[in-house]
Symmetry: C2
Subunit: 342 residues, 2 copies
């Protein structure tokens, strides 16, 4: 098998962002926020991916309402590499569509890396190293997922069980596991053979399309009605089955492998996760407190006294003070606020 041309990078930037209220809103979800030094989550993702693909080979899939925001944050992005979803339909339609567009453009033999737009990855050099191993495995015909060595018994991530090594740093996936309960998560961590399922994938364009033909023929049929179009209408796109690529393809295909990542990773899924990733903004005085996050977007002083495991987030329109234990509830509360504001 000949070595392929430079791979393509597909950034999934369709998230609606309700877990970072009040900083994130439907107008500006998490991927467009500058939570970390160096740029917005999207910019950091694009810059990192450009180290592997080059900027010209980057494709962004985003919500239609965020098209301008993407081009504002990635002014170098060719407009034809911006795919706008009229409605969110989970990852399988998003990925299948991007693959179809690449195939239409004559890149069926190329590999594509698929990345979320809002994860923290560090350092970039290790990401590049892991990605290159994954690209080689994709060249060999595998559907590759990047796995993260668990740092703690997380219950918020799916896991996958590592099987036999098929080539250096590349392992069969024995099984996929849903988000575990705390006991199971501890068992996974102790076993040493389980990795977090990061939702980052690498495969050949033709490889994922073939897998979709086999495991999700209805999706592929729907995608054929879109063809190479990068601005599909709501009815056509909305009719695609809303299934994740994990459930729709990865858990079914038999050529799935995992490349354990050598980088640090976090999906920064909520405010406590943001704290663990070092997110912080604004002048702060903390007295008799532990494990607090302050993010003040307004430039005011924040004083925290006598609190533990609490996030304080201030914007021009709202203040959130939230115990870690309520982080999962924030989505619901912020959606209620959004509805009441309409």
């Amino acid at each position: 098998m000949t070595k392929s041309a430079a791979p393509f990078g597909v950034i999934m930037a369709g998230g609606r962002g309700t877990r970072f209220w009040p900083l994130s809103t439907s107008a500006k979800p998490k991927q467009f926020l500058d939570l970390l030094p160096g740029g917005t989550m999207l910019q950091l993702t694009a810059d990192r991916l450009a180290e592997v693909c080059g900027r010209d080979n980057i494709i962004v899939v985003a919500g239609r309402e965020h098209g301008d925001l993407v081009l504002e944050q990635m002014p170098w992005l060719d407009a034809e590499n911006l795919l706008l979803e009229p409605v969110g339909r989970n990852t399988a339609p998003c990925i299948g569509w991007a693959a179809s567009v690449l195939a239409e453009r004559g890149h069926g033999d190329s590999t594509m890396l698929v990345m979320a737009s809002d994860h923290r990855i560090h350092p970039v050099e290790e990401f590049v190293r892991t990605a290159r191993v994954a690209v080689l495995a994709a060249d060999d015909g595998y559907l590759v997922t990047m796995g993260i060595t668990p740092g703690h018994p997380a219950t918020g991530y799916g896991y996958l069980e590592k099987g036999a090594e098929v080539s250096k740093g590349v392992f069969r996936v024995k099984s996929f596991r849903e988000k575990p309960d705390p006991d199971t998560a501890r068992r996974f961590l102790e076993a040493g053979s389980y990795l977090w399922n990061s939702g980052m994938f690498v495969w050949r364009v033709s490889g994922i399309l073939k897998a979709l033909a086999e495991h999700m023929p209805v999706l592929l049929e729907g995608l054929s009605g879109i063809g190479g179009c990068i601005r599909p209408d709501r009815d056509t796109f909305g009719a695609l089955p809303a299934v994740s690529v994990d459930v729709g393809v990865m858990e079914k295909a038999d050529n799935v492998v995992v490349v354990p990542a050598s980088f640090q990773w976090s999906d920064i899924g909520d405010w406590p996760g943001a704290r663990d990733a070092g997110v912080s903004r604004g002048e702060t005085i903390v007295v008799d407190s532990e494990n607090t996050l302050v993010y003040d977007a307004t430039g005011r002083l924040t004083v925290i006294m006598g609190l533990k495991n609490v996030s304080v987030v201030c914007t021009d329109t709202a203040t959130l003070v939230m115990a870690d234990s309520c982080a999962q509830k924030l989505r619901e509360v912020s959606e209620r606020i959004r509805i009441s504001e309409c």
Copy 2:
């Protein structure tokens, strides 16, 4: 003894306000804030006192830097009834000075009610009723303090022990007690004969001056150098002994009586105290939380999730999130902030 003319009301408004940071600042201490419905603490105090004295008989003693603020909030106050301290020297100099000024103006035989400017008192009708009883006792030559029936074993107030009834609703004071430890406070509450020392006094002008001559001759000597002047210089006023009237006079004099108040009272000494007094501002969503206070002076939405016994205060320049247990520390923290801003 003939019935005296309408009494005078003296409002002590010299507080510097560090316990309500960030809402209170040295430029705008607690007495000038509108924490409660109906006006600022000073306005509520003045309106209440006017029910007993009439507006024309009200004297305000405030810090020199707050003179304009007093006149802004009490536009009806005659400027010659505004006494401006160049520096704070505790209550005995403040009260002695106001009494001297009244005596110079020919009101030595009048009674004077002395009030803090930042206490919550409710309802006004009961205040008026208690004040009238106290004025009658003052007419009889007593130094009168208003006592509050304890609602809980507070450790933040001084107490006084009620003795024999000398006339209807007027009791000898057997002893003054410092702020007690929790066990002692519980004992005081159970005994039923102890009252909170509210720091509100009623006496004849000549009566308090006589008591000062006996128990604080150095103060009276110093005051004679000020005479009827309402804008003394810093050196003269600053040389007066900084002693409270409780320690300097009330604990020593033998003609001290207490009138138990029939109104509800709180000194709203800190943010948790403000919560207990019903203070609150701004649109708020509270989820899985108990016993929280929100005061947002900026008109933004505040969301509190999963917290107990916490105050959240937002202004244009700062956000405070404080556990009740740290309320006593706020003074120190806010003073540190003030210094660092100089």
